[in-house]
Symmetry: C2
Subunit: 154 residues, 2 copies
Amino acid sequence: MGVEIERKFLPATDGWRQQGQPVLIRQGYLSSHPERVVRVRIYGDEAFMTIKSKAVGVTRGEWEYPLPLDDAQEFLDRLCEQPIIEKYRRRIDHAGFTWEVDEFLGVNAGLVVAEIELPSERQAFEKPEWVGVEVTDDARYLNSNLIRHPFSSW
Amino acid sequence: MGVEIERKFLPATDGWRQQGQPVLIRQGYLSSHPERVVRVRIYGDEAFMTIKSKAVGVTRGEWEYPLPLDDAQEFLDRLCEQPIIEKYRRRIDHAGFTWEVDEFLGVNAGLVVAEIELPSERQAFEKPEWVGVEVTDDARYLNSNLIRHPFSSW
């Protein structure tokens, strides 16, 4: 098991847009239950299944396994809860950490979220100038909730 | 994807009990939703994750991946819907096919189900003399339903 400590922010400006190389992510859920999330993700031309346990604060258990691309495609198209999530991800290095900026498409178009993964809950880090308010504790921004309550319906 | 065609029967007698070598199975569900079952199973000292799509008649899509034993243990103990299923499985060859006889434990103790997997829906096969009535279409016998409505509550 890995333990994932993520903090999530909204962008303050468009400063992220010219940085990093956007990669298309398509992801869906075989389970979006908060105690046992099962996520299928195609990232570029690779596919993964990720299991996530319930979050305690900003920490949650996470297990990831590679998946045959064809199987992942079929899960997304035929089995996963609909709609699936589609977004462009940019990875932007800043002051020793990597920020992942997700620009959502489809029913979540208009939403952009910047995330940083940290080695411990108390780890200090420096925000790039384009990073705005923190939304780590706002469950609406969980990808598993964005399928039920997409950004376009807020 | 594999396609699984299974027919399920109750035993007519105890004739199965002296045959085959019982192997302990512990299994649980990260999703028991009929359209996207995600099953974690420890079979002897091996572990697997199995995805199943909705059944159409006796046919359903099935995909299986090996899983690290430690991860499977943690999923069963901490993440899966409770209670998990525990049963002894015996594999018994008869007239060119293999029967799997599951003897349930715990909250499902007393329940025994015999299953045969067939290459096509119309495949003919011979029943051993200890095999009784068919219950393929009775959803109560789905393992994913036996966690919500265990045999002891019928």
